[in-house]
């Protein structure tokens, strides 16, 4: 039902055109969701033991029982596929939020030091290793999560010294990136050969450590963020008009930025803590979503999450297929896909979408 059916004074043009665009965008989101399902099934089918995608889908949906297939799918492949989807969604979402609140197309938790903070936290625990009373298995993700928060707080504290404007926050992010990269290099310099190898492996990023518990925690973080974002999505859209216009519409840009950065810190912290530093998904996914959906944050945030999830699922498939029988680090794969795409994105300027 369109507005014209209810209110005869509304000419069909504007309202009808708007509803038609909304329907097109929802269709776009539905296609992305369908693509994501296919990619996830493909992800589950790929691995040392060959399983047909149809058998995997049947097992995942509990439509057929086959003990061997069920065991592989439910205890190994499904958690990995779920974590790939959830982490991809988290990173895509955080990238979109950061690009919006910082009014900067280069913003993402990877480029502005939040992932670097997490990486430093993880490396710190690995280097200190035996000294800690807690097993590394738990200490590494906790430290990564905490230092993602520290980096985010650092970005905001530095930026807030001069009014928390988008330019200053972006510069503060770059400062955090270099700071934590330098600290990470320092740790690598003083680490024992074994610890160094462990750090490097952690930084590559890997989905192989995925478990149902981790998937549930990441899903929990996303579920926590969703109502906040749903409530703030129009305010975030207003921010695209600039702080002055947003303020005239009654949006408190400073508090919105603070709130959004807190969400970014939680989502990035959880995602990076469990799978390591996976780059580029957060930077690139929002740009793809923006091309198809525009800046209306209701669609952009949902679209960025879907594209991020789709990208990481496909990267997971690629990481298992590039060298048959071996696992290629997923952090490298996403960057290998991300870099050429990003260059193409910069060069292509037929129509400015940013």
């Amino acid at each position: 039902m369109s507005a014209a059916d209810i209110d005869p004074s509304v000419a069909p043009s504007v309202a009808a055109a708007y509803r038609a665009r909304a329907a097109r965008r929802l269709t776009g989101l539905a296609f992305a969701a369908a693509g994501l399902c296919l990619a996830a099934v493909l992800d589950m089918a790929t691995g040392p033991a060959f399983l047909s995608p149809a058998a995997v889908a049947r097992s995942a949906l509990r439509l057929a029982e086959d003990r061997t297939i069920d065991a592989i799918v439910w205890s190994i492949r499904l958690p990995i596929a779920a974590v790939a989807v959830l982490v991809g969604a988290s990173l895509g979402l955080t990238g979109a939020i950061m690009q919006t609140i910082l009014a900067n197309p280069l913003a993402s938790s990877y480029t502005l030091g939040v992932s670097a903070g997490a990486g430093f936290g993880a490396a710190l625990v690995i280097v200190m290793g035996a000294v800690l009373p807690v097993p590394e298995l738990y200490a590494v993700p906790v430290a990564a999560f905490v230092f993602a928060g520290v980096a985010c707080a650092g970005v905001y504290a530095l930026g807030a010294m001069r009014g928390a404007t988008p330019e200053l926050l972006a510069l503060a992010g770059i400062a955090m990136l270099f700071l934590f990269q330098a600290l990470l290099s320092l740790l690598q310099f003083i680490a024992s050969p074994e610890a160094l190898q462990q750090i490097v492996f952690w930084l590559f990023g890997s989905l192989q450590r995925a478990t149902w518990t981790k998937a549930a925690i990441i899903a929990g973080a996303l579920a926590l963020a969703a109502p906040f974002l749903a409530r703030d999505c129009w305010r975030l859209t207003a921010l695209k008009l600039g702080d002055e216009r947003a303020a005239s519409l009654g949006v408190d840009a400073r508090r919105l930025r603070l709130r959004s950065l807190a969400l970014v810190s939680v989502l990035t912290g959880v995602a990076v803590a469990f799978v390591g530093a996976i780059g580029f998904v957060g930077l690139v996914a929002p740009h793809i979503a923006r091309m198809f959906l525009g800046e209306d944050q209701r669609y952009l945030l949902a679209g960025s999450a879907l594209v991020g999830a789709l990208t990481l699922s496909l990267a997971s498939v690629a990481s298992k297929s590039i060298v048959p029988g071996a696992l290629f680090p997923i952090g490298i794969v996403t960057s290998m896909i991300g870099v050429p795409f990003f260059i193409w994105l910069i060069v292509r300027s037929r129509r400015s979408f940013w």
């Binding site: 509304v10 000419a11 129009w234 859209t237 216009r245 519409l249 923006r290 525009g294």
Partner: protein, 245 residues
């Protein structure tokens, strides 16, 4: 409603940019705020919009809703014209846009003649069309006072006329109190009921155009020697001749 400035001052740190301004904008009246660069025009309007702290009092008598349109600063968001106008009703928007909000946005866009651009990106519109879209955003919230900061800068003559005539028409029709910052003295003379002249942060005068725009005052405030003429309707015209001194 009535917009009243009572001994209003604005300072950025230790720099005072506006001091002791007394001014009242009546319902249905357009007051043009003019003055040289740095005379405090934008600061005064931003104070009224609640964006900068100020000394003294700014009262909105008999109303509360303000529509404020800042200066154009060249941002080109990938939002459609309709989305920009809808943001003027941000409080009523949920995850689904209610039909009533859509109808309000459509009605305002139709009134300002921009309904046919509703699905175009604002960044791809011409400057004049974009200003009208932002004006629709300010008006769709049904404000009782309208604060416009240089709505016609960077517009060609035709679009300047369009925007200012629309502002005056709606101000009259809705009984708004309208304060508009203008650079162009001739545009101010044509469309304003009164002209408020700011000089170094203080109000030099506030009077109908023919009383406000005298050669002597323009020489003092702008440092320009000007010839004052008369348009067919009796309003003054200003032809700048040379810088004084």
């Amino acid at each position: 409603m009535r917009l009243v400035f009572d001994k209003v001052g604005v300072a950025y740190g230790s720099t005072r940019v506006v001091a002791g301004v007394d001014l009242a904008v009546e319902a249905g009246e357009v007051v043009a705020l003019v003055g040289p660069n740095g005379s405090g025009k934008s600061s005064l309007v931003r104070a009224a919009a609640g964006l900068v702290r100020h000394a003294g009092a700014i009262r909105f008598e008999g109303g509360a809703r303000i529509g404020y349109m800042p200066q154009e600063e060249g941002r080109r968001p990938a939002l459609t014209a309709l989305e920009v106008v809808l943001l003027g009703r941000i409080r009523g928007l949920g995850f689904r846009v209610p039909d009533a909000e859509l109808a309000a946005a459509e009605a305002m866009m139709t009134e300002l003649g921009v309904a046919r651009f509703s699905e175009r990106l604002v960044g791809e519109l011409s400057g004049g069309q974009r200003q009208l879209v932002y004006l629709a955003q300010a008006l769709v919230a049904e404000p009782e006072a309208l604060l416009l900061d240089e709505p016609t800068s960077a517009l060609d003559l035709r679009h300047q006329m369009d925007v200012l005539a629309t502002v005056r028409r709606l101000t009259r029709a809705r009984g708004l109190a309208c304060l508009v910052v203008l650079h162009d003295l001739n545009a101010a003379a044509r469309f304003a009921d009164r002209i408020a002249l700011l000089h170094e942060g203080a109000l030099a005068c506030c009077a109908p155009p023919e009383a406000a725009l005298t050669a002597a005052r323009i020489a003092t405030v702008f440092g320009v020697e000007a010839a004052i003429g008369r348009a067919p309707d009796g309003r003054p015209t200003v032809t700048p001749l040379a810088a004084v001194g």
